[in-house]
Symmetry: C2
Subunit: 336 residues, 2 copies
DNA sequence: GTGAAAGCGCTAACAC
DNA sequence: GTGTTAGCGCTTTCAC
């Protein structure tokens, strides 16, 4: 460590006590203006920067927030991360990042590691949050906001869009565009609250338009490209060929588009495909993906704000924050 | 902070001095096995975790490494980040992340902020590294490895692929596939060492096959999709319509593919398009992108290893590390 | 309004 | 092999 100039050096050089210097840099107690200026000047001259380690040790505040993610290179994650990082920095917090590769044991390890590092709060992004995680985090007493497909099941602060109505909206959109046989590919396991919400939105839209619900048009896959490809292939090998496939994830939706192509169907001419999330690839892929836009950056921003609020001991009135979504109508869905 | 159990508590409960506890947890000096077991047991019981803040304060080692990036949500960056994160964790280092959005002032700020946080080392990822950055970082005395398109110009540790030969290889590959009019879209400014290297590789391949170099087939763009689209459009509006466009970035290459489509050319039937980097979209886009594969994860891993080496005071023998690249032959380039 | 002194949790001489 | 002690750089009573 290069930065060898300490509060002592400043005090000595300014001819005051270290307490006075401390008061100046923290603005914690009144200091005579003259002395204040002198100290400030010495700080300027020496390039003194307070050592946050020492400060944290006594104040018990590390100014560190842990962020646990499945994988930074997932664009859903990294776009949220942008929001987290920027707002955290605004509030003088730094981010300690931990990849888990969606491995539960690694998630537990990450939490523990971050806790050891004295983080004051945490944002937990996980595809499959389980009760164990939540219990453990609660026991640790770390103020945490969750962004997880399954977090809504637990009594913890979360931020998300309203999945029921988002799915409803897109299904409705598809119906309005003249689709009648709409396949639904979910990107998480069947038994989670999230998928129940989404399924419910889907069914509600169908019901409203008197379209019969057909279970053979439903698949449970995963978020990635390959799983979307698989699921769509399986649907296209079934008895009923849909006129639209709604995949609740963009990368998986791109997989579905490719699966359709490979089965000899043109998207959107033969079959429409819709996605969910509106990550970067949705805007770039051809055909450009019609999808449910989620405000990813804002979700990160809101999540970190909630954490900071909790750290400060303020009560967060609304624990389940729902941000607005919208249908982003692009080229992968066609009027029929 | 919940974790109220300190080394003192452990010492008292185990009936030993705090130094003994310290010795046990750090394995720094021999301790009688019996006592050691006792201490370990108490640690287990109490769930004691050493406070790294306090430790860092005395050892002067923060176990923190700063990573400055243009933007986490860029897939080139985030794939490198995966490597950095995983290896850092292996060596018990944590990552302090800072987004700069490629803004020079913000880059300086980030460096300063990280320095204040007592980082021991740094990985600097920047599209346009300038002398100012390098000088400043050197002056701070923070061991740093650079991953930057322009870092090779400076006398600092860098990790990259051999851009001259990578560009040569791809150009050669294109020629072997029967292409004669190969446009080149660069993804950084003309005056950087990187682009000179790439251009040289391109020219070398051309020369070897007695193909005349034609400046009107060269463009300088930027890494993003839109800039690739623009550059390709401009080429296709020129006098000479190429049979291949080689774009030194995948996202920009995808932009070029779309530009070709929009101009009525089919890729790869009418025009081939090749990329550079092999990020996720290259594997997923249709046509799948023929591109130069860079070992992104490994680049991150090597970079962080170099930093850790420097922190430990070991001399890094090779300052300019070059990792192997390869041509990933997919579907956007066709035999002619 | 200012300084002296205690102490945050820990490591590392230094004695024994 | 073990305990005592002096700090690391800072904030925060507590006197003055």
């Amino acid at each position: 460590m290069k930065n060898t100039v300490t509060i002592k050096d400043v005090a000595k050089k300014a001819g005051v006590s270290i307490s006075t210097v401390s008061r100046v840099i923290n603005d914690s107690k009144p200091v005579t203006d003259e002395i204040k200026q002198k100290v400030l000047q010495v700080i300027e001259e020496t390039g003194y920067v307070p050592n946050p380690l020492a400060r944290s040790l006594v104040t018990k505040r590390s100014q560190l927030i842990g962020v646990v993610v499945p994988e930074v290179s997932d664009s859903f994650v990294s776009e949220i991360l942008n929001g987290i990082e920027e707002i955290a920095r605004m509030y003088d917090y730094d981010i300690l990042l931990s990849n888990t590769y969606s491995d539960k044991e690694q998630e537990m390890k990450s939490i523990n590691l971050l806790r050891a590092k004295q983080i004051e709060g945490m944002v937990m992004i996980s595809w499959n949050l389980e009760e164990d995680h939540v219990d453990f985090i609660k026991k640790c007493g770390i103020p945490t906001t969750y962004i997880s497909k399954t977090a809504r099941e637990f009594d913890v602060p979360t931020v998300s869009v309203n999945n029921e109505s988002a799915t409803y909206d897109m299904t409705k959109h598809l119906i309005e565009k003249g689709h009648k046989k709409i396949a639904l590919v979910m990107t998480s396991p069947a038994d989670t609250a999230l998928e129940m919400e989404r399924l419910s939105g889907y069914k509600r839209a169908l019901l409203e338009s008197n379209i019969e619900y057909n279970e053979s048009l439903i698949r449970y896959a995963d978020v990635d490209y390959a799983k979307g490809y698989e699921a769509a292939t399986s649907i296209l090998e079934g008895d009923i060929i849909p006129d639209a496939i709604f995949v609740t994830g963009d990368e998986a939706a791109v997989g579905a588009i490719n699966a359709a192509f490979d089965k000899g169907y043109n998207v959107p001419d033969d079959i429409s495909v819709a996605g969910f999330n509106d990550v970067k690839i949705a805007k770039v892929y051809r055909p450009k993906l019609t999808t449910v836009h989620q405000p990813l950056y804002d979700m990160g921003a809101v999540a970190i704000r909630m954490v900071i609020k909790m750290i400060k001991g303020e009560e967060v009135e609304e624990k389940k924050v729902e941000l607005p979504h919208r249908i982003e109508d692009r080229d992968s869905v066609k009027n029929r």
